[in-house]
Symmetry: C2
Subunit: 153 residues, 2 copies
């Protein structure tokens, strides 16, 4: 975060290093993915929704469920889905049993778009991590999961 050390300042903290490293690395990877998705006019959030809905299958999901599964929180699922519905990537339907809930499903057009991205996205990820040995990558995955599994307190 800071650059040139100058004047009396706090000693660097390992935890802060990790925080900064995480933000930087996440941003670096995201930039590339967004560039790739932009060729199809998708944002990372929209792509994420499409993958979540594909994973959920024909039963679909409510707004809340989609929100819970998102990689990064989106505070306005409604309008995110609005745009995707306008483009015909998803379809929405109000539930009859519980009329508060709106079920969203991915459309064939959405699935087709997703499919066209599967290979490029996989290749992108592979390339980005090609220089790291498999075992180290596995360690990284484990450590990241461990980081988020904090007991309350």
């Amino acid at each position: 975060m800071d650059s040139l050390p100058r004047g009396p300042r706090l000693a660097p903290l390992l935890e802060e290093d990790v925080f900064v490293g995480l933000q930087r690395t996440a941003d670096w990877l995201l930039q590339g993915i967004e560039q790739l998705l932009k060729t199809q006019g998708l944002s990372q959030a929209q792509y994420n929704v499409l993958r979540i809905l594909r994973g959920a299958g024909p039963r679909g999901l409510s707004c809340r469920e989609i929100g819970e599964r998102m990689i990064t929180r989106d505070p306005d699922m409604t309008r995110l889905l609005d745009r995707m519905e306008e483009r015909g990537l998803v379809a929405r339907e109000r539930q009859q049993i519980d009329r508060r809930v709106v079920t969203t499903r991915v459309t064939p057009a959405g699935l087709k778009l997703l499919k066209s991205l599967d290979h490029p996205v996989r290749e992108y990820h592979r390339r980005r991590f090609r220089h790291i040995a498999g075992a180290r990558l596995k360690t990284l995955a484990v450590l990241l999961e461990e980081a988020r599994k904090r007991e309350p307190g």
Copy 2:
């Protein structure tokens, strides 16, 4: 990214796991920090700028230099600094030698605000990683740096 496995789909890729884990962890940590910064009306980007300028000292930095040091890229440094200048957190001055360049410095008010955040921010980071042993944290920091050091190609 996906949730329930359903229907014929691609096998999960370790690289994708790492990508998702990184985004999730980064977002999780950022949420907390932003909540903390919000009590002082600062965004992460603004806080980042303040710390960069404090690190640079009284000589100040140009827009471009600030941008280069940012944790996450901001495509519009001008207006980010505009808002901070309005609040009196930074001061700007056009250079006489090279009149294209605008030098920005943190003001005493900015330094004071920063100082009031030093302790809470450090405590936040400490708490978030308290459950991970120091050696593992160090490994994480190293792996994150290694991930970003990719040779071109």
